[in-house]
Symmetry: C2
Subunit: 527 residues, 2 copies
């Protein structure tokens, strides 16, 4: 492990021009890890932007197969380096080696890269539309250099240098400047070394992939609003995300932020009667998975108040108390969780278990279950839907339909919303009353399963209304849809055929799906 502060700039590892450095901390022990990483000054960030813009000039007309070759080569290198990546991520995040890091997240990451490669090669993400009568043709095209801010909770699958946003941006044909999360710089460095090697092996230009580990907040705002930057992907804390979003929005720069979600789950009475035991296990396992540090963690459980639901809550609390206590990602996450817990408690929710730090590791918090009734929730709906990022959940026992309707209407935007209902149809009326309001405030609606699994499916929406994300029309997971975030719509009006991009020409040798005069086809124009 290098202890010299280097950055990957324009195809080379160079000594950073910055004088400030930082180290990652092992969250299990609280001890600093050996790698030393720089805070990059603005001049260094600016040089990266210039290099990325130059790279974009070179690759902008390349066929998708070039980007696919890079993504596939990179995925193969990641697999070869899996033991080292897993060890580093384990040290930096405290996430379990197995199954989480080695068996789940790393394979998911290489799978995403390969799906992105297939999408880039296949080309249907371009969504070509051809109006033959008017001779107007349009197609999606890369926006230019993309800055990806990776979050703390997925050191692989959402890493700025290897995760979903990275894969989607590259598939679109955009160079990437990865802002690694500063809690796992070593993991990001390993990815960057592999990405650089893949980039050289597949003939990408020097500034195609670059890394910045840390930068001043003011420089972050300058970065996301820079004229040569095409778009930004950000997953992380709400406060920082909103500052970056405001900076990018001021200059009309597309920025896709994923900020906060409590993922409400409604368990209807019939479902509870049918499968009480299974539901308790399912819910507890979903809330505590990854020590609750998932964007799709179901942190709010809504049930109608009844003897059965009160018994169910007692069971949940027992299981919470009995479950092993995980390690949070960092001391910062622990502090933030404690602050959220205090907000929820002071707003009137009652802790049934937990509520304090735990001794499991340097950064552990006891599994915590809060209870409130519906009328209490409605007295402080904002505070009681505070995202408690970690192993904490709130159950609300709702008095009646009117209170349920008012609670649903009070919810902010979320990534997911889930309704469990009886198989025998006895909950169907209640489902019909609840669904419209829940549907309106979530990106993904689930039936009878927990939201923590996020399939990399073309039909996935990992997105949702604000503050889940900044625009409810886009998804961060799922290909080819996620690619569209990093594109602009390019229209060609009466442009001579030999000057059109290949996807808009009359012949369609690659068999790209195109809408020609309103009909989707893989054929040629006029066929």
């Amino acid at each position: 492990m290098s202890s010299q502060p280097l950055v990957l700039l324009n195809g080379e590892w160079r000594a950073s021009a910055g004088s400030t450095t930082f180290q990652a901390v092992n969250p299990r022990t609280g001890e600093s890890l050996p790698g030393v990483y720089p805070l990059s000054p603005w001049s260094e960030v600016q040089a990266m932007i210039q290099a990325a813009a130059q790279a974009f000039e070179l690759v902008r007309a390349w066929p998708g197969s070039r980007f696919a070759a890079f993504l596939e080569d990179y995925a193969t290198r990641i697999e070869a380096a899996a033991p080292e990546l897993v060890a580093m991520a384990h040290a930096e995040t405290g996430l379990p080696v197995e199954p989480r890091l080695s068996k789940a997240e790393l394979p998911r990451t290489t799978n995403q890269l390969r799906q992105a490669a297939r999408a880039a090669r296949e080309g249907s993400w371009l969504r070509p539309v051809i109006d033959t009568a008017a001779n107007i043709r349009s197609v999606h095209a890369p926006l230019g250099p993309v800055v990806v801010f990776g979050p703390n909770n997925f050191p692989f699958a959402f890493n700025g240098m290897a995760g979903g946003d990275f894969a989607a941006a590259v598939a679109a044909g955009c160079p990437v400047i990865a802002k690694g999360h500063s809690s796992h710089p070593g993991t990001t460095r390993l990815f960057a070394e592999l990405a650089l090697a893949a980039s050289v092996a597949t003939g990408m230009p020097p500034g195609f992939v670059q890394v910045v580990y840390r930068l001043d907040h003011a420089d972050g705002e300058k970065l996301v609003s820079h004229p040569l930057v095409g778009a930004i992907g950000y997953t992380g804390a709400r406060e920082t995300g909103l500052v970056l979003k405001a900076a990018a929005d001021r200059v009309g720069k597309p920025i896709y932020v994923e900020l906060s979600s409590i993922n409400p789950v409604v368990i209807l009475p019939g479902a509870l009667a049918e499968r009480r035991v299974a539901l308790a296990d399912e819910y507890v396992s979903s809330v505590l998975m990854g020590t609750g540090q998932f964007c799709t963690n179901p942190g709010l459980l809504l049930m109608y108040a009844s003897d059965a639901s009160r018994t169910f809550v007692t069971t949940l609390a027992e299981k919470f108390a009995a479950a092993p206590v995980g390690t949070l990602l960092s001391a910062g996450v622990l502090r933030h969780l404690e602050s959220s817990v205090a907000t929820i408690q002071s707003a009137g929710a009652r802790p049934l278990c937990g509520g304090t730090r735990a001794s499991g590791s340097a950064t552990s918090h006891a599994n915590t279950l809060f209870l409130a009734d519906g009328k209490t929730f409605l007295t402080r709906p904002q505070e009681l839907q505070t995202e408690a990022f970690g192993n904490v959940a709130l159950v609300v026992l709702v008095e009646d339909d009117e209170t349920m309707a008012r609670i649903l209407a009070s919810l902010e935007g979320n990534l997911t919303g889930t309704i469990y209902s009886a198989a025998d149809g006895s909950d169907d009326d209640a489902y019909g009353r609840i669904e419209p309001a829940l549907r309106q405030c979530v990106g993904r609606l689930l039936n009878d399963k927990m939201p923590t699994g996020v399939a990399v499916s073309p039909a996935m929406n990992h997105g949702g209304p604000f503050p889940a994300t900044g625009h409810p029309g886009f998804t961060a997971v799922g290909l080819p849809a996620a690619i569209l975030r990093f594109t602009k719509l390019d229209c060609y009006d009466a442009v001579r055929e030999n000057r059109l991009p290949p996807a808009l020409r009359n012949e369609n040798p690659g068999g790209v799906w195109r809408s020609i005069d309103g009909v989707w086809t893989t054929g040629n124009v006029g066929a």
Copy 2:
């Protein structure tokens, strides 16, 4: 013509609660027109939002055919009222009755409404994606009430109560609150009366279409950021648009703004040699059409410096000076144009003709042609690409390829960019050097035709990078694409089939185009 200040609120024309009123001014005479219109206080705007939200609850699950029926009925009523609409718009805007208002803009408006109706009925704008293996399905769905701010320059085709944004929002299934432009309130009122009649005739709920004529700026910000508002369409002045955009962006509300564009045109030497006379007529006619008050007005002409181009510029100036002087839309437009002209002139451009007010009407400005060389342009690129909204253009004679490249790189985002090149291929090298930079900063690239025509085509992009619009991935003209702006992406994960929206069920009786496991088809799942 009513002189009582009424607003259309929740299905009724009611006396406004506001105490401030205004009247439109005939820009040809400078005299006030008889209709009196209210400035709505916040309580009134709030009541409209509530009514629109209630309407949305009622219509959110309606089939597209219901919205189509409304749009078609409305289009028919507009045609029946054409003489009255044309007379009112002519009085309020000074735009010629014929061909502009009666033969071009009104037919275009009803055509847009009918195209939107077809798109709503047909349903392919929903873009359903089905992953059968994972049983995940997604579809676009209406965002909720849409506020449409109409601009001054198209009293019909972009009217908040009848234009492209209105049609697209309704086709998506969204109620509309139209903020009419305050320079043509009477035209907006006539539309609102017809829309209300159509709404009643086709069984739409009371708050489905509503009008506010004017509101305080602070209330505008509250309106666009209101939790019950789904999205906003705005076409108009840059300053106001940026304030509204910032307010909506702060709360993650989709807002589509169209702000400013100078629509660069490059005429290459071979094209000039081939068809000098035709090009001069084409350019002058495009710049002066509608007294230059088009979003796609080609206000910047770039040519390589040569004897031929200098002669061409002389011809242009002669034609500008000889052309009739039109009436600007309002005294405000005239003042703004004078300010832009002063900026351009003080930045170093030389007026070849015009530059002052003209006597044609109360609000006329002489046809004005500026000239600058490329090096001058590069000394003040920001000022010299000021949008001069009106009958004003700037020609830049560019010294060499490097200067051309630097000028293109200095351009802000634009709706359109145009290159004229020789039919014999002699300009093809120059085209290849120029195209990438121009392509990157415009939404629509044209060959050998002026950009002022904006076809309502499914392949159109009336949009572009900032400040042309606020997001380069969306178009305001062209169906079904324009509808997507007013939608969110709704994903259904393991949702029981009978609970899915019709477009996602296995059977597809309507023959909607859907992507099933990566294949676009109008068939059933499993077919």
